[in-house]
Symmetry: C2
Subunit: 428 residues, 2 copies
């Protein structure tokens, strides 16, 4: 039976950045990443809109994202790895009521030095062809839509190519001598007493026990530490050994609409917001449907993160729902952006968010030689570099992780026992 | 389709006390309790050790339990309903190390007026035939056992007959005109828009939606409010509509050992602790195996609440595990109480705790016309009267519930958003 210093379960973005920083911190350790898929980042990592924004009220969020994005920038600009970063910016639309609620928060964020620019109703209408007043419309009223009052443009924000990022971490990990075994699915954990006595079916509860590896479809793999980075699959894997992760899976759908018509093409290539010369990532006021400019494909990605009565449900291949577009997203988008009138989607996909139902922030802790990193709740990619460094520092038995740029991060702030996170007030 | 003011799902102890107080607060409301079983309290309620103690550090716990136990006492002594309350007391054994940790807490509790009596090692040995020093024994050392240093006896504690209590609440609910439908299993919830528009597959996410009842094996039942009191089944029922309860099920096993031998009979009928003239409910120091004197059956109930690697797992009929007794509980008990030498169990059963994995306290909240009450984490019966009153007060749209004896309880303290609970420092 193979014995490693560490097994990392999951070759998604979190697993690979974690494995890389573990190997970097502990170059002599024998570390293996295993994943049931046949390549890196093929699970829910691949289903992301892959957007980022360095604009958060919670300093925890801000540190995680800002250092990660600075690192991505460094990789692309100084190390010459094309992550296809597009600095599209975020344009967040607010009704008068919600703007007044967020105004104080915005002032605080401004004092923290966070850059943003306000657009008023008229500017938004002129630049984007946005219908800012919709509530005179009977249908819009029935749909509980609201009028647009302001737009907040966040310049330090955009998209990247997650596949390139995944491959970057994978390659760096391999360069350091890391091992990866694809097509390797975890069936269960090996739990052993720290002091085996040879009694049938041990460990018993009076013994101190630990996770000593995993049983996979290819056999057992043992390790001193088992690092679990499985996203939405957390409960499914860890409930059987009674480790609570507070993670529930929820479906998220993305519908791709080609910018074929003249109107849509003009919208996609809206000038004046960013150097890309494109429409920023746009967030409608309520419901917060969002639209990503997908420049390579000359298309828009339309999405909405619905809650009640959306199920918490684990699925191998979650499917996008035609009606969710047709009676949901489309109906809303077309009220604000008439350019979408008649637009159908050319493709669609669905993935699962790994929601930490306590506070929707990442959770990183160690219990019984098992290290858990997850609950990224839809913002895992934009935080992934920081998360990888923090998990690796926990693995290396440190108290602080050094994030990109040299800032220290106290690991226990993302743990369960001494968790210390300000609630995010600026949420999609 | 039948339409009610309220459906209460679950005729366990929490569901029935809740239904009773709802009907009492709102006598004109048409309220129905439904349960998949064919009688009251047949699920995990029936699998409890049914112990109570009015001795908690958390004032929340103390208020919930103390007022409930005072009510049980009132029912038995003043209303003439025999709940078979046995004031056996709890005798909690501590090692020197753990006693020193708990000492400060004990002083605080003493100042709160909570009664207890300390026993030293010698008294415990003399009265119970307890082996207080076990660590000279090689086996006990391997099992990580500890020497007994002190015992804390809590007089306001004991057991009751849960079936009698369940039947009491059921009868009171029926007397007020409540309806019950047994053999009625919930398949799913009816979710409707508040303002139906007649669009296929509504509600859509831009509509405000609510829970409007349930689909059962006997058809749909609609109601203005749906009250969910399903214990360990919470996630299974509510995940499909995305309502997070933070409840996970965990198996708990009870092994019944007859006090057949002279030694065991003498132990069971140990004098000097209580008016029953029996051994108190005994909690061993570490692991905290506990032993209930089951007087009616002339036996002991032996139990241990194990955690890692015990699975969080929902089972219709969880089974007790022979090895859990043979290599687990028995091995520990016999080290401290040699009277158990050779004792086998005559019967055993297992049930599921509904663990609130956030703080192991009850959780009561309303979302989208659904009221949830659960997560009682093994102390639901002893808190049930207070819980029923609190849920009923929430149903009646009050801010405070009046507990037995007249004390007010702020409902939101048990909710999710404004939860306010001191961590319990005195836990089994």
């Amino acid at each position: 039976m193979a014995e490693y210093d560490a097994i990392v379960i999951g070759a998604g973005i979190v697993g690979l950045s974690t494995a890389y920083y573990m190997k970097k911190l502990c170059p002599d350790h024998r570390i293996i990443v295993i994943d049931k898929m046949n390549a890196a980042g093929q699970g829910n990592t691949a289903k992301s809109a892959a957007m980022f924004r360095c604009f958060f009220y919670s300093t925890t969020n801000l540190r995680l994202v800002d250092t990660s994005v600075e690192f991505f920038k460094h990789v692309q600009e100084e190390r010459g790895v094309d992550l296809k970063i597009r600095w599209t910016g975020y344009l967040w639309l607010f009704s008068e009521e919600s703007y007044n609620q967020i105004k104080g928060v915005l002032d605080t964020m401004s004092r923290l030095g966070l850059q943003y620019r306000l657009y008023d109703e008229k500017e938004l209408a002129d630049r984007l062809g946005l219908r800012t007043r919709v509530t005179h419309d009977e249908e819009a009223k029935l749909m509980n839509l609201v009028d647009v009052y302001k737009g907040i443009f966040i310049p330090k924000a955009g998209s990247l190519d997650v596949d390139s990022l995944v491959k970057f971490y994978e390659a760096e990990f391999m360069k350091l001598g890391g091992e990866i075994s694809y097509g390797t699915e975890v069936k269960s954990f090996v739990v052993e007493p720290r002091l085996p006595l040879g009694i049938p079916n041990e460990p018993y509860f009076w013994q101190e026990s630990r996770v000593a590896g995993v049983i996979t479809n290819k056999g057992a793999v043992k390790a001193k530490k088992t690092v679990v980075c499985v996203g939405a699959w957390a409960s499914k894997l860890l409930d059987p050994i009674g480790i609570e992760t507070h993670v529930k899976p929820i479906k998220r759908q993305i519908f791709c609409v080609k910018a074929k018509s003249e109107f849509l093409s003009k919208l996609l290539w809206t000038k004046g917001f960013n150097r890309e010369g494109c429409m920023p990532f746009l967030i409608l006021p309520k419901p917060k449907v969002y639209i990503k400019p997908a420049l390579e494909e000359e298309s828009f990605w339309l999405c909405y993160g619905d809650e009640f009565p959306r199920a918490y449900k684990l699925e191998e291949e979650p499917q996008p729902e035609e009606n969710f577009y047709k009676y949901g997203i489309y109906q809303i988008v077309v009220k604000y952006l008439p350019q979408f009138r008649g637009a159908t989607y050319s493709s669609a996909f669905a993935g699962l968010y790994a929601v930490n139902t306590i506070d929707r922030q990442p959770l990183i802790f160690e219990e019984n030689d098992l290290i858990f990193a997850g609950g990224t709740s839809g913002s895992g990619i934009m935080k992934t570099d920081a998360i990888g460094r923090i998990v690796a520092a926990l693995y290396a038995e440190k108290q602080y992780a050094t994030l990109y740029g040299g800032k220290e991060f106290k690991i226990e702030e993302l743990g369960l026992k001494k968790r210390k996170i300000e609630p995010e007030k600026f949420v999609i």
